[in-house]
Assembly symmetry: C2
């Protein structure tokens, strides 16, 4: 069973050991664990569905108005979502949930919902960390259109390396269906376990190995989108110069243009060899120089992930195995990587000869920056736990600490100032509440032009909802403002939703916002899909 107020399966428990706890206490003070609300208490707070019995009987697809279904469909994984669920401060929830079990049911469902004056919000795996799912407060009832049953592999063209899926398929299910035929997609965001294909497309998702497999923009080859009043079919083509590329209008549309029901994706053969190799470099500056050189040499690595000194330290502290880590650090110090060292995880994927060639080409670029390889042991551990790290949020909560992450991308000259500004903004925001903030950063997606910058903020939850919410809002606002001030995008891989809505205009400009709004109005003149996403005026208010 999936947790209703945290990440992942209830049967999976992440823990932090005494050393890690001591490290956090030293950094932040003792954790303050408030009493979580029970599911029953949270459900008791839900308003009744505003759908009438006639509507429930007239819908072309069965609708659920069960409180738990409505609760689960209305929340993602933003820290704001967590706070509302953990404290039982529910706020707006949808009025009903429809879970079609055939893609053909989506068209009549939308037509019916339009006639009924509902707002429809498509929901895949409910892993949004930016408030995509939060229903708008307003007069019109809200129907969540759950894609969870639409998960079939529809066709596979081995010659073109294309697979067509129903868009509700979740990451592990998608990969399992492909692996059964000897294929893979290779799209691994950290939310992989629960994230859906349609959600990846609607939010311009990026996976950990996008350097090889491509961001979802490169993987999405075409598909079908049910618009409020018509159907958009985008054929698969390897490339086209026939005017605007409509794939790109669907990518990042965040449920506002239509419901993605089917998607063709570009698949790959399972690679012959894959090595994840951990390198250490003596300093942030040299680490950044190394990844920049690697990216600009275009060697074809599948992953480059550079932790700054604080994240490196935190990773080693939270890993457990204090004895082994101490030996590792002694070895690294002897080789020039001591205080201030940074961890770089590299992925080499492909044919065996290709992997060897890449490693040979990468090595001198790393050595030139004082890099020390520690081989594949740490890499194998990282790969084995790549989707487990996110469970740490549960363990930290239970120790009294909240975790939020903020991410952006910018050109190279802005990367280090961006990292510093984001961490500083987070610490300052919490200082305004008399609290400390443990902030650390990694570069998760490195490009020839620049890099993503991904910062994590750990702080004490606070004694009550109002206090915790205020801490989170201060942090989110301060870091978002730092991001746009330093010239970054408000999101490299999470999307806009409600949490980032006020900062969209900084990137798009007034003209860009007007064009986006014009396109949405053309597709959806009646506002059937008007969840508030992609609308700069829609910031999430305290419930």
């Amino acid at each position: 069973m999936r947790r209703w107020n945290g990440w992942g399966e209830e049967s999976i428990h992440a823990t932090i050991d005494e050393g890690a706890r001591g490290f956090l206490e030293e950094a932040l003070g003792s954790g303050t664990l408030p009493q979580d609300a029970s599911l029953a208490a949270a459900l008791a707070r839900l308003p009744a569905s505003r759908l009438s019995a006639a509507q429930l009987h007239g819908a072309p697809v069965p609708l659920s108005i069960e409180a738990e279904d409505r609760l689960r469909a209305s929340f993602g994984q933003s820290l704001g979502d967590w706070l509302r669920l953990r404290f039982g401060q529910i706020g707006p929830v949808c009025d009903a949930v429809a879970s079609p079990d055939a893609v053909e049911q989506v068209r009549p469902l939308l037509d019916w919902a339009r006639q009924q004056g509902l707002v429809v919000i498509p929901v895949g795996g409910a892993t949004s960390v930016v408030g995509h799912l939060t229903p708008p407060a307003g007069e019109r009832p809200v129907l969540m259109l759950s894609m969870q049953r639409l998960r079939r592999l529809l066709s596979l063209d081995a010659s073109s390396q294309l697979a067509r899926f129903e868009a509700g398929v979740l990451g592990p299910d998608l990969e399992a269906q492909l692996r059964a035929e000897g294929w893979m997609l290779g799209h691994y965001p950290q939310s992989f376990e629960y994230a859906s294909l349609g959600g990846w497309i609607a939010t311009r998702s990026s996976g950990q190995q996008s350097a090889r497999y491509g961001r979802i923009e490169a993987l999405f080859a075409g598909g079908r989108v049910e618009l409020p009043t018509s159907t958009l079919d985008i054929p698969t083509l390897p490339a086209t110069a026939a005017g605007p590329d409509l794939r790109e209008w669907v990518l990042g549309s965040e449920g506002r243009l239509g419901v993605i029901t089917e998607a063709s994706v570009r698949i790959s053969r399972v690679p012959e060899r894959e090595d994840f190799v951990a390198w250490f470099l003596p300093s942030w500056e040299r680490g950044q120089a190394a990844v920049q050189a690697l990216a600009q040499a275009r060697l074809g690595l599948s992953m480059m992930r550079l932790a700054n000194a604080t994240e490196t330290l935190t990773t080693l502290k939270l890993a457990g195995h204090a004895g082994a880590i101490a030996w590792l650090e002694r070895y690294l110090a002897l080789r020039g990587c001591a205080e201030g060292k940074v961890l770089l995880m590299l992925g080499f994927t492909g044919g065996a000869a290709q992997v060897r060639a890449m490693q040979a080409l990468a090595k001198p670029l790393l050595r030139a920056q004082g890099g020390v390889s520690t081989g594949t042991l740490l890499g194998r551990k990282w790969a084995a736990k790549r989707f487990r790290g996110v469970y740490l949020r549960n363990a930290l909560w239970e120790a009294g600490y909240a975790v939020d992450t903020m991410e952006t991308a910018c050109d190279w000259p802005r990367v280090t100032p961006m990292m510093q500004a984001m961490e500083h903004a987070g610490r300052s925001a919490l200082a305004g509440h008399g609290e400390r903030c443990h902030a650390y950063t990694h570069l998760s997606h490195v490009y020839p032009q620049g890099s993503s910058v991904y910062s994590t903020f750990v702080f004490r939850i606070g004694p009550d909802f109002d206090g915790a919410w205020a801490r989170w809002q201060s942090l989110k606002a301060a870091v978002s403002e730092a991001i746009v001030r330093e010239g970054g995008t408000i999101s490299h891989q999470h999307g806009v939703g409600k949490d980032h809505a006020p900062y969209l205009g900084a990137e798009k400009g007034a003209t860009g916002l007007r064009l986006i709004d014009g396109l949405i109005r053309e597709a959806d003149p009646g506002g059937l899909l008007d969840s508030g996403n992609l609308r700069p005026s829609t910031a999430r208010a305290q419930p």
Copy 2:
């Protein structure tokens, strides 16, 4: 001086030798060379400009109503353009040409033109082969906005590998300005000599080495677009998930959304080594299998260009050097590449070690299909003449033959049927006029998912304009219909313009067309930029 009714500089003369002439006569019959109209005769046919003296004096940028300026700005390089110019059957031309010499002049010029009720068509290097520039026939005077003076390098960020240019810069000038700083772009469409950066963006251009450097979609990092009533600034970002990517709305907008005045592009260091290697394979089937395997192995080659048997034969026949070619063919026949052999030109670009590694990885895939390498001699010749081949159109015209090319892209299972259907459609269309057609094809851009398919059609011009125009229209319609029937895009690299307008709907669908139209109306409610491009109802009529 640039030719007014053909390709390129007047001082450059391509020729075909007796052997080539004999080959064409055998294939098509003796060429029929009509009398070309003189420039003076063509200019005499131009209607007077409809702009008033008051308008000419009131414009914020000097306007030219000189007949030759108006003529040159109103034509691209489509065979339809050629026929109209060569026969002096001019048809619609613009009323005036503005050539701003500062990007800041574009905004007031557009504002003024809007107030005057003009139609504005931006023009870069006038190399369109699909009728982008043909002015619409209508009541409103047409102003061509020539970007030719806007050619400066504005800034260069070595760290992010970004260069910002005024968008009117032409290919050779752009490369020269970058080379002076040790950089390059690497975007080499065959029209490189005259094509402009803004034109590449507006038409989704693809260069010969796009497999390494990327299509223009990947090279265009941001910029400034003057919309009819406002300015769109797109910041450079390595990647973004903040809703729709507005770069993609500008790409392929064909002058209908706004005027691209500045563009930042992703540049590269000049590579250490570049080899173009000619391989021969025994048959089309084995050649296609080889390029598909190479593309799907993702080795990072910069170019894969596979000629079918007829194009291979034609290339060898038109190359001159009959003696050397005969020796080459004897050698190839001994190695298993005889009748039906196909020529594959491969580009290996990068660091010296990287190039060696790529070649070692590519070789077994080529050998597996019976490939025979002939080394770098033919490749060096190809590279040295890569922008000279297009001059052959002049020589063929002077021998009495017209040349048109049509191109598409499709998924792998459709590639061979597409090639056969396109060639068959071309031959059938000319047979309807009692003429033969020499049709041949190459794959110029090969992707893991599929390939572009680029066919050339050579046929006798015909004795007069009406006859020649009818042959061209039959060919164009038949091949376009074959392309959409076989599931290809109406253009992989040339765009839509007027010549492909009727076939846009096959790819975009009614819903897609409605969205495109809605976006254009949002950007340009008054139709200031309504050249007729991207409008499916706009096919070019006989003048």
